[in-house]
Structure formats: structure tokens, C-alpha cells
């Protein structure tokens, strides 16, 4: 009898283990209730200190499959950089389980280093006083990149990121955009399987941003490199990422396609109508007038509703001259989401 119970128990355990292994095969990055708590000591007076705990990352779970390109967004202090630092092994999680390519980053940081590329938008890894090419030569030797591979990767980066004229220029003479492109190339010479970028487009002009985005897209589609990037520029996400994760106060608020954010954020589209003359606000519920400026009126309506029905109604009842529909602004959606979260938090406390 006892034996039978034991056997059943074993069978169940085996099944669970198998499931976990299967999951690990296609999940390249795996976080399971990962936490990072910082002890912050604040000086409150002479020799007096106050201790406080900051939950920078608060029980986050997600998986990223090989070859995915994921945007990681959230307001300042949300915990994005902290997450990236844990994924690269710079910081040790305070709790939870974290695996990248089956490796625990904080325990086997050096081994993992060969397989990942990291770009910190705020700081460079290039050698300030030396020509750009010298930094690449160091990567070549430090990562033991085979000569042919190195030359091939370098040529490709030089071509796509337009670094040709910059290779012999000391890094300190490069502009911010040039330096950023140089940093991205430096992170890719050893063929990393995953590339983490923490604010790669910060401070770049439109043209540099376009170059960087084009390059990342190419990297992801041609090479199948997994990319995880944080940004405050939602155009980065719109143009690059099929999947977006929103984090706030260390918690994952949303994980899914960019379009899905509209539903979650209850976003609204706007119908702008030009009437023949000034009229009182149009009455067309559930649409509501949010602004009136002379003969022009702005009507907000749920993004899920059809615009055609609304246009037909307005056209039938009012003297229309012109109209246009504006798609919801993803930025506004996210701002609303952040604000909603803050309100929810206030309500709780």
C-alpha cells in the first residue's frame, strides 16, 4: 500500500520535471517570480540613518523565446535597468528563479558573457583615447573570436552602421550618435545569442535612430538574435517589437502585442469634424466632445467602436464640411496606464 502511494508520488514529480524541461527548450530567457530588493540607507541627521527597502523588481515572471524581439518599457524608476542587470549577472536577484540559455547569470557570469551582448545607452564600453578600431581589436582577443568570424562581423557592422570613416577616429572625438553605433557594433562582434539594450536611442537624432533601428531589425530577422530593449521612445517599440512588456513599480503590468495595449488601456480614437459654422457641442453618445474651437470639434470615442456609424450619424444631423479620424496615441495610452496604477496604489494605501 505504502509502496503504491510512493510510486504515484514519483510519477507526478517526474511529469512536473519533464514539463519544466520542455518549457526550458524554447524559453531562452526565463524569469520566475524574480525579485530585487535594495536596502537604502538615508542620512536623516548627524549619525542618524533611516533604513528603507526599495522593491525595484517585485515578483516578475516572463519568458522570451529564441529569436523574439521584445520591448521593455515603463516610467522612470520602474525597474527596467535592474531587470537587465539581473539578466546579465551584474546583480544577484533577491528571490525567484532566473535563467538565460539555461544558465543562472549571477552564478556563471563569465560563462554567460560569451553568449550575450549588452549595450548601456548611458555609458560606453569603448576606449576613450584610442581609435574605435582598437576597441574592436580588444573584443576580438578578449572573446577569442576566430579571425574569419571577426572580420566578417566587423565588415557587416561597419557597412550597416556606417562606421567606415570612424574606425580610425579616437572615441572621444565621436558624436553621441556615432559612439552609440560604435557601442552596438562592439557588443555584437562575438555573435551573441541575445542582445540587451538599455535605452539605445537616448539622445539620438532622427537619422541616427533610424540607422540603429534598421540595424536591429536586420540583426533580428537575418541572424535570429534575440533582442530585449528598454526605451522611453515608443517609436522604437512601434517600429521594432512585436511584443511589449510594461513594467511599473517593479511589477509587470502588461505583456503582449503592442496593439493589445489599446484594449487594456481603454484607449479612445478621436473624430475631428469641421462644421459649416460654430455650433453647440455635438450630441452623439457614446462619443463625447472633448474640445471645441470655433467650427471645429473633437469627439472622443472608444477605440473598439466603429468610426463609420459615428460619422454617418454626425453627417446626417450636422452640416459637415470635413472630417478626419485620429488613431489613439500609444503614449497617451501608456501614460494613462501609469496614472491608473498610481491611483490604484493610492486607493490601496
Amino acid at each position: 500500500m505504502d509502496v503504491a502511494v510512493d510510486e504515484t508520488g514519483d510519477a507526478v514529480t517526474d511529469g512536473a520535471v519533464d514539463g519544466a524541461v520542455d518549457g526550458a527548450v524554447d524559453a531562452f530567457i526565463e524569469l520566475d517570480r524574480v525579485e530585487k530588493v535594495f536596502d537604502v540607507r538615508k542620512k536623516t541627521g548627524f549619525l542618524k540613518r533611516e533604513r528603507r527597502q526599495v522593491r525595484a523588481v517585485d515578483s516578475i515572471s516572463f519568458t522570451v523565446a529564441r529569436g523574439e524581439m521584445v520591448g521593455y518599457i515603463g516610467p522612470n524608476g520602474a525597474g527596467k535597468s535592474t531587470t537587465i542587470k539581473m539578466l546579465t549577472g551584474i546583480l544577484t536577484p533577491s528571490g525567484g528563479r532566473l535563467r538565460v540559455a539555461g544558465i543562472d547569470p549571477s552564478r556563471e557570469r563569465t560563462r554567460l558573457a560569451h553568449r550575450i551582448g549588452v549595450v548601456f545607452g548611458q555609458r560606453t564600453t569603448l576606449w576613450w583615447d584610442l581609435p574605435l578600431i582598437d576597441s574592436y581589436k580588444l573584443m576580438h582577443r578578449m572573446y577569442r573570436i576566430p579571425d574569419a568570424r571577426y572580420r566578417e562581423n566587423l565588415d557587416r557592422c561597419v557597412e550597416l552602421l556606417e562606421l567606415g570613416d570612424l574606425l580610425d577616429v579616437p572615441v572621444r572625438q565621436l558624436s553621441l550618435g556615432q559612439r552609440m553605433r560604435g557601442d552596438i557594433a562592439a557588443a555584437l562582434l562575438h555573435d551573441p545569442e541575445v542582445l540587451y539594450l538599455d535605452e539605445p536611442t537616448i539622445g539620438l537624432d532622427v537619422i541616427s535612430k533610424a540607422k540603429v533601428r534598421g540595424f536591429l531589425r536586420e540583426l533580428n530577422t537575418e541572424r535570429g538574435t534575440t533582442v530585449l530593449l528598454t526605451t522611453h521612445d515608443l517609436q522604437d517599440i512601434e517600429q521594432l517589437c512585436s511584443r511589449v512588456m510594461v513594467i511599473d513599480h517593479g511589477r509587470l503590468m502588461y505583456d503582449g502585442p503592442l496593439a493589445g495595449l489599446h484594449e487594456v488601456g481603454e484607449s479612445e480614437r478621436t473624430l475631428v469634424v469641421d462644421l459649416e459654422r460654430e455650433l453647440p457641442p455635438i450630441d452623439a453618445a457614446p462619443a463625447r466632445v472633448v474640445r471645441v474651437e470655433g467650427p471645429r470639434q473633437w469627439l472622443a470615442f472608444p477605440a473598439s467602436e466603429s468610426a463609420a456609424a459615428l460619422v454617418a450619424r454626425v453627417a446626417a444631423e450636422y452640416p459637415l464640411v470635413d472630417l478626419s479620424v485620429r488613431e489613439p496615441d500609444i503614449e497617451a495610452v501608456i501614460a494613462k496606464m501609469y496614472a491608473g496604477d498610481a491611483e490604484a496604489e493610492k486607493a490601496v494605501s
Binding site: T88, G89, T92, V118, Q122, R123, L130
Partner: protein
């Protein structure tokens, strides 16, 4: 098995050290004029140090019963040992600023031991100045001291220099580990190492007995030269120590390395990066 792994880690570390030190030398070369000026300046400053001791000796005939060549012997030993450590790991104090400005993060994502990377940080050839100066004094002292050279005594001299260098290196590493804990402890570390060399330039009898005991047992730095130098010079050591104590420096150095290694691991484990 672990021996092999550890050995390869040491090899990896040395390789990374060489690569990074090479980059720093090339960086320094880009400012050639200032490179030459700092090397000369460094030589002049360390030279003045010794002139100070010479002047003092022209006033007193002997210091604590020790004569000039003997003082020069102590001085040459400690300065050479310190100079080697300073050349190899002398930039450990920039670790503090690397931690504060967050650039330490970028070292952690490289496939090379962090200790090697931080040790080679800001590697500067100009630090050869101190070694040169120490060696010159040491050679002069060896030629002038009145000693019956036995094989053991001859062997002890390079052993003292090397062990001393290793002990100072261990102090640098422990100081660096401490900097990760207490993010701006570079000052504390400097007091230890630079204070240490100044102290070792004077013979032990100048200081009180309790102080010497403290130094001998609390700070094994005394093993850099006092204990073995007394043996070489045939002078009685102020404390009752067995004769083999003179040959303890490599042992002390090994223990210091072990402790420093533990401290470094603990420090690295407590690293928490910056908020930006």
C-alpha cells in the same frame, strides 16, 4: 579537477590583465609629451624621498642604533616591494569611482575575471619609477652593508622583495573589496598602504615595543622586511622570535592572499550597482 579549473582561471586572468594593461599603455602614449613629463616627475619625487633620509642621517649618526647602509637596506626592500605591487595593482583605488559612476557594470559583462580587469585598470608605466629607485638603493645597500653572506641570506633577499610585493598586493585587493562594501574607502586604503611603506623605512627599534608587537602580529606587513632583515643583518630582533620566523614571508604572503581572495569574493557578492 578544481585545480585545473582554477589554473585556467588564473591563466585567463593573466591574459585579460595583459590585454587591458596594453590598452592603457597605448592610451597613455597618445599623449606622448605628458607621458614623458610624468615619468620624470615621478622619478624626481621618489628621489627626493631618499634625500630626506640622507639629510636626517647627516644630523644623527645612527637611527635606533642602525647605520645608513642598514637603513638603506630596509628602505630599498620596502620601496621595491611596494613599487612592484603598485605597478601591478596600483589602480585599485579607481574602483571606487568606477562603482560610483556605474562603469564597473561594464566590466562585469566581460568574459574575464573582474579582479584582473580592475587590477589592470589605469595601468601606468610611470610606476616603474618607484621600482627603479628602490632597486638602486637596495643594490647600493647590499654592496655597503657589513654582512657575512650565507646562501640562506642571499636567497632571502629576492624572497623578501617578492613576498613583500605579494603582501602589498593582498592589501590592495582587500582594500578594493572593502571599497565595494563602503563605496568610498579609497582614503582608508591609501592610509594603509602608503602609511605602511613610510613606516617600514625606519628600523623597528625606533618604535615602542608594544607597537612593534602589534605590527608584527596584527599587520603581517612587518614581515616584508623587519623580521628577515634583522636576520640578514645579524641584528637581534626586538621581540623573541624563533630564527625560522625570518623565512616566514612566503607563508605570510600566501595567507594574506587567501584572506584577500575571500574578502574580494565577499565584496563582489555584495555589489549592488547604481540606480542609473
Amino acid at each position: 579537477m578544481t585545480g585545473v579549473v582554477r589554473g585556467s582561471r588564473l591563466g585567463e586572468g593573466l591574459r585579460a590583465y595583459r590585454l587591458i594593461a596594453g590598452m592603457w599603455i597605448r592610451s597613455a602614449m597618445t599623449y606622448r609629451a605628458s607621458f614623458v613629463v610624468t615619468v620624470c616627475g615621478n622619478l624626481a619625487v621618489t628621489g627626493l624621498d631618499f634625500v630626506g633620509i640622507l639629510l636626517m642621517f647627516s644630523q644623527v649618526d645612527a637611527l635606533g642604533g642602525w647605520r645608513l647602509p642598514e637603513i638603506a637596506f630596509l628602505y630599498g626592500l620596502s620601496v621595491t616591494a611596494f613599487g612592484i605591487a603598485d605597478l601591478v595593482l596600483g589602480s585599485m583605488d579607481v574602483l571606487g569611482s568606477r562603482i560610483r559612476d556605474g562603469s564597473f557594470d561594464t566590466l562585469l559583462v566581460r568574459p574575464a575575471p573582474v579582479l584582473a580587469q580592475i587590477g589592470a585598470d589605469h595601468f601606468a608605466v610611470r610606476r616603474l619609477g618607484r621600482i627603479t629607485q628602490g632597486t638602486v638603493v637596495l643594490i647600493w645597500a647590499l654592496a655597503s652593508v657589513d654582512v657575512d653572506w650565507s646562501a640562506a641570506k642571499v636567497l632571502l633577499v629576492p624572497l623578501m622583495v617578492l613576498s613583500g610585493a605579494v603582501i602589498f598586493c593582498a592589501v590592495f585587493v582587500a582594500g578594493a573589496a572593502f571599497q565595494i562594501f563602503a563605496q568610498d574607502a579609497a582614503e582608508v586604503q591609501n592610509a594603509f598602504t602608503y602609511g605602511g611603506t613610510t613606516l617600514l623605512q625606519y628600523p623597528p627599534t625606533v618604535f615602542g615595543k608594544d607597537f612593534v608587537r602589534g605590527v608584527t602580529f596584527m599587520f603581517p606587513i612587518a614581515f616584508v622586511n623587519w623580521v628577515p632583515a634583522c636576520y640578514v643583518l645579524g641584528r637581534p630582533y626586538p621581540l623573541d622570535l624563533p630564527e625560522w620566523a625570518a623565512f616566514a614571508p612566503p607563508l605570510v604572503a600566501a595567507v594574506c592572499c587567501g584572506l584577500a581572495g575571500l574578502a574580494w569574493r565577499a565584496g563582489l557578492g555584495s555589489y549592488r550597482s547604481t540606480g542609473s
